[in-house]
């Protein structure tokens, strides 16, 4: 029977040997991300800073200099034009207009008017105009959602496991999130509401992955009383390696078509997710596990004193139920 295996069975890769390399690489990447976040900063979308975005389709290939000339005269500040999809499709973006909430609507009207006057036959396919108060609230709520998610994860893992697990998972999560933010800074992908959804999804995926590895560590802690923690963690990672890689593979495969031809709005979202999947998977092995090793050495509770054989076949534990 042919079976596609992403890793051979019975691996015993000493992952924990790379613990310092993993943690240092991760720390460096995260610090670099934070620096990039501060300067030059993220390309915030209108959801979070307000402004006007208009997507237009011109009858012939868009003439950018004419568009720039016409729209530049409206007195709405710098106009940014971006082509995407076909050469007829243009994304017009203005920064938030000063002068209160009404100013955004005035700007939309002016742009619609200018397009209709100077570029007859142009179709306005999408309009988004967000004022100051809404963009501020969306930003605050987005950040609140992210922070609450981190706290909720900490509490959940703490409750289900022990504090070392919760701490390890959350520190890893923060490292993952900072790198994702760094990815936004490097690629200049717009940071908007969808980005919050993307980051939350990556957090969900990453935690999910940590839970699987931690679950196995906890199980093995009960099985092998005398096995040193380092070997035990290595063993747990190896045992779950095929699952870890398999799930990453399926999520990756599901996202890939979206990244390749999901349309303007979803492509960026999907690329961020693909990045997050790689980060989330590697951090389970190289970050979350080493942290557990550092925190848990000599502290983690082992199973009740039971006779356990080191070869791996458990005599203790619940007996397997008879085949029904």
């Amino acid at each position: 029977m042919y079976r596609l295996r992403l890793a051979p069975d019975n691996t015993s890769i000493p992952f924990m040997k790379g613990r310092f390399a993993g943690l240092i690489t991760s720390a460096v990447l995260s610090i670099a991300s934070i620096i990039l976040f501060i300067y030059p900063g993220l390309n915030y979308g209108i959801d979070f800073v307000g402004g006007v975005v208009i997507e237009a389709k011109t009858p012939d290939a868009a003439n950018f200099s004419a568009l720039r000339g016409s729209l530049g005269q409206l007195g709405l500040g710098p106009v940014s034009l971006q082509q995407f999809g076909s050469p007829q499709e243009v994304l017009i973006r203005f920064e938030r207009q000063p002068g209160g909430e009404k100013a955004q609507q005035v700007a939309v009207e002016k742009v619609r008017g200018a397009l209709a006057r100077d570029f007859a036959g142009t179709q306005v396919r999408r309009v988004e105009a967000v004022g100051a108060s809404v963009s501020h609230e969306l930003y605050v709520n987005g950040m609140l959602a992210l922070s609450l998610a981190v706290v909720a994860m900490l509490l959940y893992i703490w409750f289900r496991f022990e504090w070392q697990f919760g701490f390890g998972a959350v520190v890893t999560l923060l490292l993952d999130v900072t790198k994702t933010v760094g990815f936004y800074a490097v690629t200049d992908i717009q940071f908007n509401l969808t980005s919050i959804a993307a980051i939350l999804t990556i957090m969900g995926y990453s935690i999910n992955d940590k839970v699987v590895v931690y679950d196995r560590v906890r199980e093995n802690l009960r099985l092998y009383k005398k096995l040193p923690l380092r070997a035990l963690i290595d063993r747990s990672i190896n045992e779950t390696l095929n699952r870890t890689l398999g799930t990453s593979m399926t999520v990756f495969l599901a996202c890939l078509p979206l990244a390749l031809f999901g349309g303007e709005a979803l492509e960026e979202f999907a690329w961020v997710l693909l990045f997050g999947i790689v980060i989330g998977t590697s951090s389970s092995i190289f970050i979350a596990a080493p942290i557990l090793l550092f925190l848990g050495e000599g502290r983690l509770r082992r199973g009740a004193a039971r006779d356990v054989v080191e070869t791996g076949e458990a005599k203790a534990g619940t007996p397997d139920a008879p085949a029904a």
Partner: protein, 535 residues
């Protein structure tokens, strides 16, 4: 975990079949789905505006304007009260937060407080007063609207506005608009199929407060200040350069309102009998008609003003008493603007101005493109995931794939049943669920494989695989659910759709991956009784 009671098997099959039944209407045309007999499910998933095309507007009630108007009225009332009671005062003013004044003589303080106390409108529900009235021992007084009254006013303004917005939009013929309150002073308006909401924004952008008032003694009041009880209002009938087409630039108008728009029962646009312009013909209710008759009878040969949103649209001279309760507004209207004004007058005035603070409009063909791209992505993603599962886990992989199909079906069924809204991020959510929900099957299959390699017999390997993987699956899914709950409660609009599809996708996967797949695997096991599991 491997034993299924007969009733359980039937329930599982029943749930899956129900899923198919509830999903089907989405693949039939809407008209066909609606023509199905009533006992068949016919609900369809709603497409969000980003997929169907349409306009999303978030309006905010301008409470500052409400307060300003109230304070303006209070200032006039204070003046009248003090004058009639012969109380001396100076520095009567209002600064958008409070009306302030200074008493000339402190002995009037008690009398002033008593008089001002009558200015409060009816107390609020909690028995709190509407106004905060203070007069210090130095004679300085202030009147302001209390916070409680402000909240109350906002709540009422939003409620009335929703009603009036609905009437105005209904007049434009938009299908199935959604108009809902959002937060304390906001109103959400969703207009499916509208790709240029300019006309609607124009209709909603006017409070349409129509008043009939008398003009001041000196009609030509282009310069100078308005005496108490009067105000200077601009002429609405100005051309693009700001020069009036007819009449002065500003009129001196009495503040006293003789009749207002709330007494109208009908308003229709029609061509003018005198020239090429259009006019609006209106009709008063009995109260309005009587008052209008009284006013016109007492003021023959004097001009009066028809004022809309503090602009004078026309100032005709009353030739004779108007007794029938019918009238006409002429003010250089076009067919469109006359019709719009008639719509506004029929729908009634908004209690406060509305501002559009967020707009998201998507044209219908862009939405269609997005759906097409989304569906292609889902199909390709599905094929990739299914192929991987088949290659990695063989027969059990195929069973996981069948479970995955039911996962999709059940997710769509729940979304249809709740008539949830599917947005563009929601489509991405479905795709992501595809990838994440097979995780449960991967966990189970890997575990069974592991137990088999340890030398367990097929039945006990499968039993152990399911049992051990179960806790992990719960932990993994719960963490994702918690996050999506957060996203749903704090996110807005389309992003909520993402949280919704992922949440239902995960809940469905919990059933399909652990129960449906298990039923299939166990049935196969009993049927073939293999000596080695094919994992």
């Amino acid at each position: 975990m491997l034993y299924f009671a007969r009733w359980k098997i039937y329930t599982i099959i029943g749930v899956c079949l129900a899923g198919v039944l509830f999903t089907l209407p989405n693949f039939l045309g809407r008209d066909f789905a609606n023509s199905l007999p009533g006992w068949l499910p016919h609900r369809q998933i709603h497409l969000g505006l980003d997929l169907s095309g349409g306009s999303y507007l978030l309006l905010e009630v301008d409470m500052a304007a409400v307060v300003k108007e109230r304070l303006g009225n209070l200032q006039d009332a204070v003046r009248t009260q003090f004058r009639t009671a012969d109380i001396g005062y100076v520095n009567l003013a209002n600064d958008e937060h409070a009306v302030t004044f200074t008493l000339r003589d402190l002995k009037d303080r008690d009398e002033a407080l008593r008089l001002l106390g009558t200015l409060s409108s009816t107390p609020l529900a909690g028995g709190q007063p509407e106004l905060q009235i203070d007069i210090g021992s130095d004679g300085n007084g202030s009147i302001s609207v209390t916070d409680a009254a402000l909240h109350d006013k906002a709540a009422r303004a939003v409620e009335q506005s929703i009603e009036i917005i609905r009437r105005r939009i209904d007049e434009t013929g938009v299908n199935e608009p959604t108009i809902a309150r959002q937060g304390e002073q906001r109103i959400l308006v969703q207009l499916p199929g509208v790709d240029d909401p300019d006309r609607i924004k124009r209709l909603l952008g006017q409070t349409a407060k129509l008043t009939f008032r008398l003009l001041g003694p000196d009609t030509d009041a282009a310069s100078g200040r308005a005496p108490p009880g009067f105000e200077l209002l601009p002429n609405a009938d100005v051309d693009r350069r700001g020069v009036p087409d007819s009449g002065p630039a500003r009129y001196l108008v009495r503040k006293r309102i003789e009749v207002d728009g709330s007494n109208l029962v009908d308003a229709r646009s029609g061509p003018s009998s005198q020239n090429a312009d259009w006019v609006v013909n209106f009709e008063f209710d009995s109260v309005g008609a009587r008052r209008f008759a009284d006013v016109t009878r007492n003021n023959v040969n004097r001009p009066f003003a028809i004022v809309l949103d503090n602009k004078v649209i026309s100032a005709p001279v009353i030739r004779e008493p108007i007794l029938g309760g019918r009238g006409q507004i002429s003010g250089h209207f076009t067919a469109q603007s006359a019709n719009d004004l008639a719509v506004l007058l029929r729908a009634g005035a908004l209690p406060a101005p509305l501002t559009v603070i967020e707009e998201r409009t998507v044209g219908p063909d862009l939405g269609a493109d997005a759906i097409r791209a989304g569906i292609y992505s889902i199909l390709v993603g599905f094929v990739l995931v299914v192929t991987y599962m088949a290659l990695a886990y063989g027969l059990f992989g195929l069973m996981a794939n069948v479970a995955l199909v039911f996962n999709l079906i059940l997710t769509l069924a729940v979304l249809s049943l709740l008539q949830a809204t599917l947005t563009l991020p929601g489509l991405a959510g479905i795709l992501l669920t595809l990838g994440m929900s097979v995780d449960a099957n991967i966990l189970i299959n890997e575990r069974i494989r592991e137990e088999t390699r340890k030398g367990k017999a097929p039945f006990s390997a499968m039993e152990a695989g399911f049992r051990r993987a179960f806790a992990t699956i719960i932990d993994a899914n719960l963490t994702t659910l918690i996050k999506m709950l957060l996203l749903f409660s704090l996110g807005s609009g389309p992003v909520k759709g993402f949280a919704v599809t992922i949440s239902f996708g995960i809940l469905a996967s919990f059933f399909t991956a652990t129960v449906v797949a298990r039923l299939m695997m166990v049935s196969w096991l009993r049927w073939r009784r293999p000596t080695v599991l094919p994992v």
